[in-house]
């Protein structure tokens, strides 16, 4: 690859690569996005949870996950009232203070706050700011056709912004890149599940999350390099509780919180940035690419509190997740002021009560920086399980 947005990891040992990934994730100057722009590239910012990045990628744009940031929303605060989650504010903050410059902003109807975000961006920036209306009735027989058409609309918009025609060939090539990426991410999660002592919680998270900040080809290179290195690490298995973290589908807990959790238990599965793992297996390369993407979104996908699908009752999905990774306990988290997350907490805990699965309920904020109290609570919870 000739031009790279993230060359820092090249030629380094595993621990150093992982260090560079964490550094990138916490760098609020967004060096990779800026390098991309300096090189003449255009940027599509998309809000959580899922976005068909392949469509922007096929036109040569850099899709960037606007997933909040560990910053104070000093400029954005005056644009909002109280009672809001942090990610909404910090996503606007990084755009207002021009740390992230975009050519397109897309939000989704995931929740009441996020639906307002495209309108808010639209009032503050000249570039197109839109909602991509992912279907909220995936059970309708027409939802596949509808979503294919909606992706077609997005494709036309991206073509207009970039001046690049998106052919089926280009789309298939992008889908291949992303299929590869999803495959690598599955391998990372396999490691977390099967040999969690080889990869700490924050390392695993950083490897996943940098994908939202760099081109997927680069992400694939990083993952391809580190996966065998992780597998050949020599580390001893410890007697720790195997834990699932549920509640990271949108706003992300701070990396330090994840690190803290990983110090006392094995985080064997989670829903962090679930949009990046939304599609469960390869998107087909045969036939119509947009229809294939739509099909995978609807028929071969994960779950989250912000999508209702009669076929995926969320408590059942959570139980399946717990079972699949053989976890002994769950952290049921929600971002502060996150309506869907907080509502789902009740359903999850009632179900876990019924099944007698131990859980710990908590709220977090992406820019919280003190976890002493939380750490003590988690330790007590885990100790109670062990003894």
């Amino acid at each position: 690859m000739s031009f790279e947005t993230f060359p820092e990891w090249r030629g380094k040992e595993l621990d150093e690569i992982l260090y560079e990934c964490r550094e990138l994730l916490e760098d609020t100057e967004y060096p990779t996005i800026n390098r991309w722009r300096q090189n003449g590239g255009k940027v599509a910012g998309h809000f959580q949870v899922y976005f068909p990045e392949e469509i922007a990628h096929a036109a040569g744009m850099l899709p960037v996950k606007m997933g909040g940031a560990p910053v104070e929303p000093n400029s954005a605060d005056s644009h909002f009232g109280s009672y809001l989650c942090s990610i909404i504010k910090t996503s606007l903050e990084v755009a207002l203070n021009e740390k992230v410059k975009l050519d397109l902003f897309i939000s989704h109807p995931i929740c009441d706050a996020a639906r307002n975000l495209a309108a808010i961006f639209g009032r503050n920036f000249d570039y197109p700011c839109q909602i991509l209306y992912l279907p909220q009735n995936p059970n309708s027989s027409h939802s596949l056709q509808y979503l294919t058409d909606e992706y077609g609309r997005l494709k036309r918009l991206v073509e207009e912004i970039t001046g690049n025609k998106i052919t089926d060939e280009k789309l298939r090539a992008s889908i291949e890149v992303y299929n590869q990426n999803r495959q690598y991410l599955r391998e990372i999660y396999d490691i977390k599940r099967d040999t969690p002592w080889l990869l700490t919680a924050d390392e695993g998270y950083a490897l996943l999350a940098i994908g939202g900040l760099i081109p997927r080809e680069e992400h694939n290179e990083v993952l391809k390099t580190v996966i065998p290195l992780i597998k050949s690490r020599v580390r001893k298995k410890e007697d720790r509780i195997r834990l699932v973290f549920e509640g990271g589908f949108c706003e992300q807990p701070p990396l330090d919180l994840i690190r803290m959790l990983g110090q006392t238990c094995y985080l064997v599965d989670d829903d962090f940035l679930i949009g990046m793992r939304w599609i469960l297996s390869d998107v087909s390369l045969e036939g119509e690419p947009l229809r294939n993407l739509a099909h995978s979104y609807l028929e071969d996908s994960s779950y989250s509190p912000v999508q209702h699908d009669n076929r995926k009752p969320k408590e059942e999905m959570l139980l399946k997740r717990i079972e699949a990774c053989d976890a002994g306990a769950v952290i049921i988290a929600a971002a502060k002021m996150c309506e869907p997350g907080l509502e789902e907490q009740v359903a999850y805990t009632h179900e876990l009560d019924r099944k007698g699965i131990p859980y710990f309920v908590t709220e977090f904020e992406e820019n919280m920086n003190s976890f002493d109290h939380l750490e003590m609570q988690v330790d007590t919870f885990l100790e109670n399980l062990l003894f």
């Binding site: 309108a119 309708s140 209702h308």
Partner: protein, 430 residues
């Protein structure tokens, strides 16, 4: 009181509205007492048009919840839901309803029947989370009528365009799926002529609703958009599609036209014409209004009248020759309009300021509702750069009295009106 024609007609909308409302709750109580079930629906896209054509009783849980606040017992219900694990930070409507359900339908207005089906739109995402609660509680089918909204502010797709048609076809397919589901739930066969009848009544209600709102362009205003408007909204939602609803609104138009003709305004001596943006403060509903009317402030229009009627303000007329297709167009346009008046309300507010001769804009974001509140500060900021109309921004809640501080509110409202008065002085007599 002597029964002059004026006494008969003026205030009729409020009197009849309250009576219809009581009857409606009595009917629901009767249904509940006989173990009957109802369809649970929401104000933004109730699909009453379909449900009424199956003669299903409908329950509006949002209205039930707001009634607990108006009747000052909401805290009891909220506490109960919070004891069951619901956060203080989520929508109070959801929590009050959860407690109503846990109490077997016990409600200050009567008894609420259990649901047989829940039908919701995506106009508010919390609707979906809310319906999931009933799905778990009662194991009933829930149907999400997904109505794609405007993709980019001020640029809704136009009827006849490819994008519009894509959305419309999706809505039409879902209408047909809902009909099949209703047949299953009720055991009745769908009757398209009955739907026509319901649509005819809805057409009448729609055009009257649009007229009523427009009549407030007159000075003095003929109704208070916040207080009277809430009564009208109750009927517009609950009795949409029925002959009673159509008749009520026809008479309401008559009343408002009579008032215009005779120069009869609201109870307030109108000094300042205000627009209300947000959701009313139900825990102190009357008092909240008085904080404005005491200064001669009258609410002339509100975004609430628009979105909480599911976009009926557009006055959409269904084509009875092609009812299903027409319903898909009407639903798409009306519910999309309701969403626009929440997410892009600066566009509506700007037009209201012009058409309704507005002196002030009152923003009332609330803790419970991110749908309506998230963008208010930003849109206020941008609108203030375009038009020179003083505005006030007060945060509280529509259910939770813990975040309603009347004294603080009063101070801010008083200061606002003092500002309006001195501005008027500066600008010369009104």
């Amino acid at each position: 009181m002597n029964s002059t024609p004026e006494n008969k007609i003026v205030g009729r909308g409020n009197r009849d509205g309250a009576a219809l409302f009581r009857d409606w709750y009595n009917d629901l109580s009767q249904t509940a007492e006989t173990d009957g079930r109802a369809a649970y629906v929401f104000v933004m896209g109730s699909l009453n048009e379909i449900l009424k054509s199956f003669d299903m009783p409908v329950v509006f849980p949002e209205i039930n919840s707001l009634q607990t606040a108006v009747r000052r017992v909401a805290h009891d219900y909220l506490d109960e839901a919070e004891d069951h694990g619901y956060s203080p930070d989520i929508c109070g409507y959801v929590k009050a309803d959860y407690a109503v359900q846990k109490r077997g339908g016990e409600h200050p207005m009567g008894k609420i029947p259990k649901p047989s089906i829940a039908v919701l739109t995506n106009a508010c995402n919390t609707y979906i989370k809310w319906a999931e609660i009933w799905e778990r509680m009662y194991d009933i089918p829930i149907f999400t009528m997904d109505i794609p909204g405007t993709r980019q502010g001020g640029k809704p797709s136009l009827e006849g365009s490819v994008d519009f048609e894509n959305d419309r076809r999706y809505v039409e397919a879902q209408i047909r799926e809902l009909i099949t589901l209703c047949e299953k739930v009720t055991g009745k066969k769908f009757d398209i002529d009955k739907l026509r009848e319901v649509l005819k009544n809805t057409n009448s209600l729609h055009s009257s609703w649009e007229k009523v709102i427009t009549l407030n362009q007159n000075t003095p205003a003929v109704f208070n958009a916040l207080t009277d408007g809430t009564i009208f909204l109750g009927v517009a939602n609950g009795l949409k599609g029925t002959p009673e609803g159509a008749k009520y609104f026809k008479e309401l138009v008559e009343e408002m036209e009579y008032k215009v003709k005779n120069g009869i305004g609201t109870l307030t001596e109108e000094q300042y014409r205000l627009v209300f943006v947000g959701v009313p403060c139900y825990p102190i509903f009357r008092r909240f209004n008085e904080l404005f009317t005491d200064w001669g402030g009258t609410f002339i229009n509100s975004t609430y009248l628009w979105f909480a009627s599911g976009g009926a303000n557009r006055g959409f007329q269904y084509d009875l020759e092609d009812p299903i297709k027409s319903l898909s167009i009407g639903l798409l346009m009306s519910v999309r309009d309701a969403m626009d008046s929440m997410f892009h309300q600066e566009i509506m507010v700007e037009s209201m300021v012009k058409d309704f001769k507005i002196d002030g804009i009152i923003y009332h974001p609330i803790k419970s509702c991110r749908t309506v509140s998230t963008g208010l500060a930003d849109s206020r900021y941008h609108l203030s750069k375009k038009i020179d109309v003083p505005s006030l921004f007060i945060e509280s809640d529509m259910m939770d009295r813990r975040v309603v501080t009347e004294a603080q509110m009063k101070n801010r409202i008083d200061a606002y009106f003092e500002g309006l008065a001195s501005r008027r002085q500066r600008m010369g007599a009104h």
